[in-house]
């Protein structure tokens, strides 16, 4: 039987309340969102917070809205809410495609986008999506909020720039008219973490690619993205040859390691193949838009 080590529990009532509790409690406290990563880690004693501060009662952290030319998603928005969001789907089908293959419907009812980002698991699907879209994280502490590009959000596996006494409050993604997007994932069985995943957006205008983003999970790409591959595509016609060259470049930006999900060269092959498939579909969607 796995049981967490003794822990204190506090339920936060507002963002300010959560922050003041976390700040007062210091390093030994952790916020809990859906709990689907933190509680298993506490059960395995990989995490031993002295206090967990529950964010589930904070309504202002949950919801999806358009603000100016950005999509804003509250950190406590559940996977299920992201999956079914018409607004996110309208601008970026990549959200629905990724959510559809994250965990299972029960985990998705309580697991959150903010928890996924902060857990920063190397295989986190929403981290790949966020980096592909070049989104931003809004991090709030007692002295106010700061905005950090998602491509600077991670400090390595399972580490982020969110400091003790701060919480992630929002994710913001720029809206790009005419963008097509797609997500591809290979997993061992339904609901499992990816062996490799790739998510992209592309804007095709006047016959050339004018904007794009490539994100990958589970293959240890720096900040889950492939900037060199993106640079190859900018200003180019979206031909099969150009897409394939970018996909191959993306695979070179991956640093997969062999584990129970497969050998490194297989994962690298997947990085190329899945990026190519995602690019093809995103290009077609952008051209159809």
């Amino acid at each position: 039987m796995q049981t967490p080590a003794p822990v204190e529990y506090a339920k936060a009532t507002s963002i300010a309340d959560a922050i003041s509790r976390l700040e007062a409690l210091g390093e030994d406290s952790r916020p809990v969102a859906g709990g689907y990563s933190l509680i298993p880690m506490m059960k395995l004693r990989l995490a031993r917070p002295e206090t967990v501060v529950d964010l589930n009662g904070i309504a202002e952290l949950r919801g999806i809205r358009v603000e100016g030319n950005e999509l804003v998603v509250g950190a406590m928005t559940t996977h299920a809410d992201v999956l079914s969001s018409a607004i996110l789907f309208e601008h970026y089908p990549i959200f629905r495609e990724a959510e559809h293959v994250i965990a299972d419907p029960i985990v998705r009812m309580r697991g959150t986008i903010g928890g996924s980002m902060c857990q920063a698991d190397p295989a986190s699907d929403l981290s790949a999506v966020g980096s592909a879209l070049r989104g931003n994280a809004v991090i709030t502490g007692s002295s106010g909020s700061r905005t950090v590009p998602l491509r600077e959000f991670h400090d390595g596996p399972y580490e982020t720039v969110v400091q003790t006494g701060e919480i992630l409050t929002e994710l913001r993604y720029p809206i790009r008219p005419g963008a097509g997007s797609a997500y591809e994932k290979v997993e061992r069985r339904a609901g499992d973490w990816g062996v490799c995943t790739s998510g992209v957006f592309v804007v095709v205008s006047g016959g050339v690619i004018t904007d794009c983003g490539i994100g990958m999970a589970a293959v240890n790409a720096d900040h889950y993205c492939a900037p060199e591959a993106e640079a190859l595509l900018m200003g180019k016609a979206p031909t099969e040859e150009n897409l394939a060259a970018a996909a191959a470049a993306a695979a070179n930006e991956a640093n997969p390691i062999a584990d129970q999900r497969g050998p490194a060269d297989y994962k690298r092959h997947l990085a190329s193949e899945l990026t190519l498939r995602a690019l093809r579909r995103a290009v077609a969607a952008s051209q159809g838009a």
């Binding site: 003794p6 529990y9 339920k11 299972d104 419907p105 609901g191």
Partner: protein, 158 residues
């Protein structure tokens, strides 16, 4: 820490350690053994209960987080001595063998049918992807949930 949870319509108050998982609160503190406890790793779904109407893997939630919530376990499906359509479905369609996964399957199955009264077999298949059965091969479980869909709906329209 004092916690009060409404389970199947009955208020239960206990003084528990905050680290107590909801599944153990239900099974050990309250001695309600209908909810099963399997993998202990958030994968198998045997421990699925509803918290305020939404399914939760109760091995991955602290009991104190359910303070003030309405929890429904498999024991709460029976209404006035009558089996719920999902329970009838598992009986009629032989939806279980060892029965280990069954409480979780029923809680997820009934929730799926409530969410979408016209749910297709394919959608049910995906809907139970967080519930693992090592015995049946799933065919009869799908039949049982389809039975519930068909009978729960006729109940409503009747």
């Amino acid at each position: 820490m004092q916690v009060s949870v409404n389970i199947n319509g009955v208020e239960h108050s206990r003084d528990i350690e905050p680290r107590t998982l909801l599944v153990h609160f239900i099974r050990d503190d309250l001695q309600m053994r209908g909810t099963h406890w399997g993998c202990d790793t958030s994968n198998c779904g045997a421990c699925t209960v509803w918290v305020d109407g939404a399914p939760v893997k109760s091995c991955t939630m602290l009991a104190v987080q359910a303070e003030g919530a309405e929890v429904t376990t498999v024991e709460g499906l029976v209404k006035d001595g009558a089996l719920d359509p999902i329970q009838e479905g598992f009986t009629e369609c032989h939806g279980l063998q060892c029965g280990y996964c069954t409480p979780g399957m029923m809680m997820t199955g009934r929730w799926l049918v409530d969410q979408n009264p016209n749910i297709t077999r394919e959608e049910i298949r995906e809907g139970i992807s967080g519930n693992i059965c090592r015995c049946t091969g799933y065919k009869n479980i799908l039949d049982a949930i389809e039975y519930a869909r068909d009978h729960a709906n006729s109940e409503v329209s009747a």
